[in-house]
Amino acid sequence: MTEWLARGGHGFFIWSSYGMFALALVIEIVVLRRSRRSAIEQARAMRADSQAS
């Protein structure tokens, strides 16, 4: 396993690349889901305000 990860001495470069890509994907997906939730909540609040007035 260690040898598989070492990638003939290039492990650091390969896993830094793949790791950052994975991190970027996770961040984008989390932000997407959060902004969708907050958009729905904001729309609810706006509608509640406009109906109340």
Partner: protein, 260 residues
């Protein structure tokens, strides 16, 4: 079938939801297959050793960064000429994913350059023009957030996108026009592939995965934009009423004005 029907946010929204899920899962399946071929089946490169395996994310990310910008310019042209809402939202929805891919292309390129060229960065034509692409994406996002009126922001961003698209052919042909450290085109339409069949297969699988991922994220983001921009329309109201409400802990759902 009248395709223009889907040009209105109200009719596009319901089909975008299921499509997001489909493209998302297709991306996952293609990425698993691509990583399997790339790491288990493809052999070690004779010249570069193991480091070449960065190609499986570097090239797809770089292609997507360029392609997404061209698609943004296409939607921007639409939104300017037809003054339509949905194309502008599509352009807006693609920018963050394009920025992400541009950043990943630069990052993976740096970590590939170090073991093969001996440096993380050089001010070479290909690298510099790709950095400009990242700045164009960030510029689009910043310009958008600096203008409060969405329709004015649409027009300003569309103009910036159209002016900036000139950078894409510069990136693409930079390895031919200038003497660069970066290698030439990986895939050419006119010449036989210079890489092993399994390496090419893995790279193409990862490319289609990235493609599918970008479509899924853009559709997801466009739905959020539609809710934000059309919050007071009747159909968004119906959707919000139908969506699984967290009424108990949702302050917006509670009576806010003394139950009026």
């Amino acid at each position: 079938m009248n395709w223009f029907r889907f040009a209105s946010p109200a009719s596009f929204y319901p089909i975008a939801g299921p499509l997001t899920a489909v493209f998302g899962w297709v991306a996952v399946a293609l990425a698993v297959a691509g990583l399997y071929v790339g790491f288990v089946i493809a052999p070690t490169d004779a010249q570069q050793g193991e480091s070449y395996r960065i190609i499986f994310i570097h090239v797809p990310a770089a292609w997507m960064a360029m392609l997404i910008y061209v698609v943004i310019a296409f939607w921007s042209l639409f939104s300017l000429t037809l003054n339509a809402r949905l194309p502008a939202m599509m352009a807006q929805a693609l920018a963050p994913t394009g920025a992400m891919f541009a950043f990943i292309a630069l990052w993976t390129g740096a970590f590939w350059g170090r073991p093969t060229w001996g440096t993380y960065w050089v001010w070479d034509a290909r690298l510099t023009s790709t950095l400009v692409l990242l700045f164009l994406y960030l510029g689009l996002i910043a310009l958008r957030s600096a203008i409060d009126d969405p329709r004015r922001a649409d027009r300003a961003c569309a103009l910036l996108a159209l002016v900036g698209v000139v950078n894409v052919p510069i990136i693409y042909f930079s390895v031919r026009w200038w003497n660069t450290l970066h290698q030439g085109a990986t895939i050419s339409m006119t010449a036989a592939p210079k890489m092993a069949q399994t390496m090419l297969t893995a790279m193409l699988l990862m490319t289609f995965a990235a493609w599918s991922y970008a479509i899924a994220t853009a559709l997801h983001r466009v739905r959020t934009l539609i809710i934000e921009r059309e919050a007071l329309s009747d159909w968004v109201g119906r959707f919000i009423a139908e969506s699984p409400a967290k009424a108990a802990n949702d302050p917006a759902a509670a009576p806010r004005h003394g139950g009026v």
